[in-house]
């Protein structure tokens, strides 16, 4: 708090200063006028004395044969001049203190002093003897000196100087003292009265100031009592109303804060809806409220939670309007109803907004125990609706994230499981090297490759592609693997294995799905390779010298046509492996890999690159092929599952 004089004290001091200044001006003015009047009176009196002395001296001069007789003059001035005696001891005197009489040449004729010790100079300069009468006051104003010619017409030669005592100085000083004392006393009194009166008059203002301080310090229960019907009374009642309103709003704000914290920490959607309705129900004290949310596609609106009575049937239209226009719908009661001044909104639909998009709405029914909602409550509920929109959206997003994580986790498990279904290393075939890998485009792929070693030096190699991608294709791939493993146990020829597999798949597979496959069976000791092809890409064989052969026996995809059509057009091809021959098996993820222009890698590039890499070990050859395919596709994402298998007879 700043220190120093209070405002009111400053006002008082200013007021007292003004009064004092005004008083001083008045006192000085009157004192000056009083002094001038006194001097004028004394001048008059002293001139009278001068006239009297001049008359007497004129008479004396002519009565003494035009001479001045000092002895006679001394008697008169000492005993008779200007003395009036009455009855008893009464006497009035205005006798001069000193009288001096000079010749026109400046020589002293006669001098008188009331104390008997005349001290007038015996000679004065003639120029100092004025022919006019002069009245001069000395500085402390206790003497007046009147001088002038005895006869203004010069009939009597000589000049007279009369020195008269006066009390003007004394009287003026007494007046000044009195005025100063009165001014100081008045100032003091005015100050005191000012303090007392302002203290009394401004007590309510001080009370308001104190109240404001207490409210500021957190004492919201404090109220001021001032019954007077004046401006201060109006200010006091306004202050009390303001504090009450403030307290009400503060309480409401705390409740809103509590509720928003509660709903902000709730991410289970159904519990969140229940809490939101609790919040609206509790804050609005409504008879009922209901929460509506858009359905997944956003085309329809569903009531997801209700609190209180049943949802009125006529609420649907305003809910749709609020969602469509993204505006609150306030349903008002008629102005003719009782208590209309208390507020007119009897129920409302408030949109719940996420970003700029309304995601739902809350219907708040009529208040319980009141005719309507006031403007403040409507504004509060709109604020709550904003929080509710954010909370609903947050919960939705969190659920989406959780769902996504769950799916990702499950996909991860599926990927791991599928990985175990593929061979992690090639089987050892005497005189041959074998390598392969599969890279799904998504977490789970539909490509399948496998190596199966069977009795008698027989080895099966299969590469297949389930139509479509993802989990469905992955599940079919696992079924295919089981069937291939099962039938290869007791069936030697690759075409027979695929026939058995097809019979099962045609029956069980979704009618839109099918599987393409190349199944090779190698008799290692005779180097005879038997090839069955079920609608799959042709088998590529690169010779040690770079010659290229395509092996493509007839055969349609597994599960695509009826069993009869499949088996009627199913052929087998045979090829005897020569030293250095490399069989390359692949899926369309290789041949249909696209560059940024949409051009496909294609069979020609595959042949060219495979031939170029034929002298590398099979693993390095396949890695090199994959590298070239990826370089061709540049930055484009892998569109389809990629599988590559290479079998080479040692040179």
């Amino acid at each position: 708090m700043p220190t120093g004089l209070k405002f009111i004290h400053k006002i008082i001091l200013l007021m007292v200063g003004c009064i004092t200044f005004t008083g001083a001006i008045i006192a000085v003015t009157f004192a000056a006028r009083f002094r001038a009047e006194l001097i004028r009176q004394e001048e008059g009196s002293s001139f009278t004395v001068y006239q009297a002395a001049a008359n007497y001296l004129t008479g004396h001069y002519f009565s003494k044969n035009e001479h001045f007789v000092p002895r006679s003059l001394g008697y008169v001035f000492s005993n008779r001049f200007l003395v009036a005696e009455g009855e008893g001891s009464f006497s009035v005197t205005h006798r001069p203190a000193r009288v001096a009489l000079y010749q026109p040449d400046g020589s002293l004729i006669y001098a008188y002093s009331i104390d008997g010790k005349p001290d007038a100079p015996t000679n004065v300069p003639p120029s100092s003897l004025s022919s006019n009468v002069a009245v001069v006051f000395n500085d402390p104003l206790d003497r007046i000196v009147v001088s002038g010619p005895i006869d203004p017409f010069g009939a009597v030669p000589g000049f007279v100087t009369i020195d008269l005592p006066t009390d003007i100085g004394v009287r003026l000083r007494a007046l000044y003292r009195t005025a100063a004392v009165m001014l100081c006393g008045g100032t003091l009194l005015a100050t005191l009265l000012g303090f007392l009166l302002t203290r009394r008059f401004l007590a309510p203002v001080q009370a308001l100031t104190d109240a404001a301080r207490r409210v500021h310090a957190g004492d919201y229960s404090f109220r001021i009592h001032h019954a007077a019907n004046d401006e201060i009374g109006l200010l006091t009642s306004t202050f009390n109303e303001m504090v009450s309103s403030w307290v009400r709003r503060l309480s409401l704000m705390h409740r809103i804060q509590e509720w928003t914290l509660k709903v902000g920490n709730e991410f289970d959607r159904h519990r969140l809806y229940a809490r939101l309705l609790d919040m609206f129900h509790n804050v609005a004290s409504s008879q009922m409220c209901a929460l509506f949310l858009r359905t997944e596609g956003g085309r329809d609106i569903d009531p997801v939670a209700v609190r209180g009575e049943e949802i009125p049937p006529d609420v649907t239209a305003p809910v749709r309007f609020a969602l469509e226009k993204n505006e609150p719908v306030l349903m008002e009661r008629a102005s003719t109803e009782a208590g209309a001044s208390l507020g007119r909104v009897k129920s409302m639909v408030l949109p719940l907004v996420s970003g700029d998009r309304p995601i739902g709405a809350v219907y708040i029914g009529p208040p319980d125990g009141a005719p309507a909602y006031d403007d403040e409550m409507v504004a509060t509920l709109q604020t709550l609706a904003q929080h509710a929109g954010i909370a609903v959206e947050n919960a939705r997003l969190l659920n989406e994230v959780a769902e996504k994580r769950r799916i990702e986790q499950e996909m991860g498990w599926a990927r791991d499981i599928q990985r175990t279904l593929l061979p992690n290393q090639a089987v050892a075939i005497p005189g041959y090297s074998l390598h392969g890998f599969s890279l799904p485009a998504t977490e789970v792929g539909g490509d399948y490759f496998d190596y199966l070693a069977r009795e008698g030096g027989r080895f099966h190699i299969i590469v297949s592609d389930v139509s479509g991608k993802g989990v469905a294709a992955g599940l079919i791939m696992s079924v295919l693997r089981s069937l291939v493993h099962t039938y290869s146990e007791f069936t030697e020829a690759p075409q027979d294995i695929l026939r058995h597999v097809n019979r099962v798949l045609t029956r069980d597979l979704d009618e839109y799905m099918f599987i393409t496959a190349n199944m090779l069976t190698l008799q290692a000791d005779t180097h005879l390779l038997r090839i069955a092809r079920a609608g799959h890409e042709p088998v590529l064989i690169i010779g040690a010298d770079g010659t290229v052969q395509w092996i493509k026996p007839t055969g349609t995809a597994l599960g695509l046509l009826d069993v009869g059509s499949f088996e009627a057009n199913f052929e087998i091809a045979e090829y005897r492996m020569k030293p250095g021959d490399t069989v390359v098996l692949y899926t369309d993820g290789i041949t249909e890999a696209q560059d940024v222009e949409g051009a496909e890698y294609g069979l020609d590039r595959l042949v060219e690159d495979a031939a170029a890499l034929r002298n590398l070990p099979v693993a390095a050859m396949l890695e090199g092929l994959l590298e070239r395919v990826r370089r061709f596709a540049s930055d484009r994402a892998q569109l389809d599952d990629i599988t590559l298998v290479a079998l080479r007879r040692d040179p």
């Binding site: 479509g468 009618e511 839109y512």
Partner: protein, 115 residues
Amino acid sequence: MGKYELDVQVNAESGVQLVELDGPVDSATIEVFKARLDPVCNQPGAKVLLDCQQLTYLNSRAIGLLVTYHRRLLQTHGRLALCRLNTKLVRSLDLLQLGKTLFTYETREDGLESF
């Protein structure tokens, strides 16, 4: 760069439902393909000709669908035929040995006359 959306126009011509495909049928457009062809090809006895001149890609699931439509229509004495297939599509059908199963024609007129 090729087109990324699939347009499917269905017009009746001489009692044949002529379906013109423009764009690729891949994982992004397969549902549009199915939604437009289901009402046409699931009508018993319908005669349907697919004009594939503007068809840039047909994925394996779409091929499976065509085989299914073909099979169903044959069962109800209807028929599905394809015309103006590009070389890639022809190769895909050949790989699957479907060239002899599905009815394919080089021109639209040949396709329409086949009904």
